[in-house]
Every structure is written in C-alpha cells, then in structure tokens.
Symmetry: C2
Subunit: 241 residues, 2 copies
C-alpha cells in the first residue's frame, strides 16, 4: 500500500478533540488550582483533573448501554465534577464557581502545532470535530483557541457516544460523505480502531504527555492506520497540504 | 422601551439563512439556466427557482405534521427538484447533473452587506445559523461564501423545522443559552413571530428583492421586534459592534 493510494478519496478530516487537539490535563488542573486557591484549600490539582477525567468513560457508558437517554457531555461533566469535589473534600463552593469550573472544558488550550496544522489542512479538506464534546463546548473552545472548524460533528449531532458505530456513521452522514471519504485523526488507538471498523480512514498522532509525564498508554500506533504523523503539521504535509 | 434595555443580555446572534443571509433566487436561477443550457432546453429559470422554492414549505410540513420522520433538507430539496423538473418538462438529465443542481443550495451567494456585517458582529457576540438547512448545506455555503459562523444550529440539530417551537428552543439549548439571550435575525415576519413566542429577541432586516422585483411580502416589519435594521452592518452598529 502506498500512501497515495491509501489517502485517495479523502474529503473530510475529522478530529478527536480531548487529548488529540487540546491538552485537557494542563488546562483543567490550572483551573482547579485557581478554584481551590479561591477557597484557600490545598488540593493536588493534577490528581483532581485525572480523577474528573477518569469518571468520563463510565458516565458515557450509562448512555451507551441505554441505561439513560442521551445527554450532552456538559451534563455528565457536571455530575462527575460534583462527585470529584466530594471525593477531594472540596464541597461548599458557590454554585456559580462550580458552574464556572465545569466550563473549564470549554477553555482548553490546544497543543502547539494544532492551529497552524488545521489552517493548512483547511486549504485542502473540510475539517471538523468528531468528539464526544457537545456543540456548545466545542464551539466555545473554537472561539477560545482559534480553531477554524468547518463543522462541529460528533456525539451531539449523531446522538451517540464514541466508540459506538453511530457516532462515526452519523457524523459522516451529516456532512454527506461516505465513511471512506472521512479520515479520523486521534491520539487514541481504541477510537481509531472503532472508526476503522465502520469504514473510516485513520490517522494516529501521538500525544505522549496527554496524561502527564508518566503516560504509559497510546504512546505508539497499535493498528494498521493509513497515516501515522508526528503532529498536525506533519499530518497536513502527509495529506498533501 | 429603549434599545439599550431591549438588547440587554443578548449573547448569541442567530440567523435565518435562505433569503436573510443569501440571495437564493439569483443563485438558483443562474444554476438552473446553466443546467438547461447543457441540455439545450429553453426554460424560465426564475420561474423554475420560484417553483422549486414554493415546494419547500409543503415538504417541511410533512415532517412538522408527523407524517414522515425528520429528514435533512437536502433530501426534501431533491424530491422537490424531481417534481419541478417534471413540471417544467426537463426530465432525462443525468443523475450526476441532477445531484449537482440539487447542491446549488450549498453554493448560494450572500447579500453584499453580509460578510462584513457578520465579521463585526462576531467581535461582540457568538454568531450562528438557525436555519432549516441541514448541517452539510450550511457548512458548504459557509466555505463558499466566507461566512464566519461559530456554530451551525437549526433544524438538523434541533430535529424540528421552523416555525415549530422546538427548532428555536433546541438551538438555544445546544449552545447553552436561554431563549432570551438569543436574538433571531430574519427577513421573514412569520419566523420572527414564532421565535418571539418562545422568548427569543428578534431583529428584522428587510430583503425586498428576495423574491425578485415584484415582491409583495415581508417588505416591512410587522411585529414589535427589538431591532429593525437596514442591513447586517446597521444591525452590528445597533448591537454595539
């Protein structure tokens, strides 16, 4: 397989967001630290961020399993935040401050290569998000970080959380493309494998510090992806932009 | 009521698209003329555009009434196109040409004030579409015309066609705002009245040539809207941008 063959026919480059586009751990732990300082409380803000994020998959699993109806990620984040605050003995914050902390997910900073890589890619392809983040969250992040998406797709549009097949298929359908005309870019092997299983093309970009300096997962491509790129600028070059 | 009071609290400026943002009649009739020329057929291309558009409301009414499940506007446009082609005795075109003509709705040109008005508005507000057009259509139009939307909302996101209340309420919910924090901008009184009824703020911008030189409807504001503007630049100024 040559690269030219493998990328033939791609029209849309769609991105996982948390971890792939943005460095959620640094941004969240900074906001947690500010929050704790306001209440004069000591907290390991990175441990807090990790715990909050660890509740993410189980919360979505309640939707995926059919136990609860689809709800936007903001709502799951809030329930997980309430639990994390309790576990870290940080209760009694004002509702306004907790609402604001929950919105930290709307203000995540991108990895350094992201904005220029997306600008290059946009010249040759339609670019969009295929994230479990809800429309409001992704839109606000785009304004915050200057991310030039053509379309916000993913869970809220498809009414299904990744890695359910409908999350990918509903996103492709919403922009009128076949799965084979879409390439998913992600730093996570399980996401790419699920996209590949429904006919998407795939690109792996390692983000070895997503989980901090001791990260042990997703350091390498573990599947036969169409592209493995160093960062988004390399990805744009490999896609001919 | 002073203007300052009436616009207090607005966070998102949301736009009707067909007629308000883009001049669908000129764009569609030009594409119909090219299509007919390719087949060496004589056709009144403006009459064709008007007829195609006239089938728009009845088609959506089948969804609004519950007779059929929600389908994206592209599909309704295609069914209406097939009927219009038959009525104008233009059958026997290739499937590829008919598919391409149906996509003329993705390539509509904006009114002259639109791009600069939206750029101004984006500095002060979140801007988005609240159209019956589907996500793919609005996204492609944005790339074609350089429309800097923060978010594509409306029918496909809310799973309801305007003027059903859910089209407005579902769009506001998707970006996390109360209806009173959203202002709908439209050239159509019925759209604005429906938005007002569910708590939106409203702005009327007349587009007196939307339906050609003999237009008789929607020439004037027929409700107590928060803003009546000459065009999008005037709208931006009235909204303090």
């Amino acid at each position: 397989m040559t690269l030219t063959q493998s990328i033939h026919g791609i029209r849309a480059v769609l991105f996982d967001v948390f971890g792939t586009v943005v460095d959620w751990r640094s941004s969240i732990s900074q906001e947690v630290a500010s929050f704790a300082k306001r209440y004069d409380l000591a907290v390991d803000s990175e441990a807090f961020a990790d715990r909050w994020r660890a509740l993410y998959q189980p919360a979505m699993e309640r939707v995926r399993s059919g136990n609860i109806a689809f709800v936007p990620l903001d709502q799951l984040h809030r329930e997980n935040l309430d639990q994390t605050l309790m576990e870290f003995s940080l209760p009694n914050a004002s509702e306004a401050d907790v609402v604001n902390l929950n919105l930290a997910w709307h203000r995540l900073d991108p990895w350094p290569d992201v904005v220029s890589g997306l600008q290059k890619l946009k010249r040759g392809y339609q670019i969009g998000t295929l994230s479990n983040g809800n429309i409001d969250l992704i839109k606000n992040m785009a304004r915050h970080a200057g991310l030039p998406w053509d379309a916000i797709l993913g869970a809220e549009v498809a009414r299904a959380y990744k890695p359910q097949p409908q999350a990918y298929l509903g996103s492709a359908a919403a922009i009128g493309f076949e799965p084979s005309q879409c390439i998913l870019v992600a730093a996570h092997n399980n996401d790419l494998k699920a996209a590949m299983a429904v006919g998407f093309k795939t690109a792996f970009v390692a983000r070895p510090f997503e989980h901090g300096p001791d990260q042990e997962t997703d350091l390498f491509a573990e599947g036969e992806y169409d592209i493995v790129a160093q960062d988004f600028i390399d990805l744009a070059e490999q896609l001919g932009c």
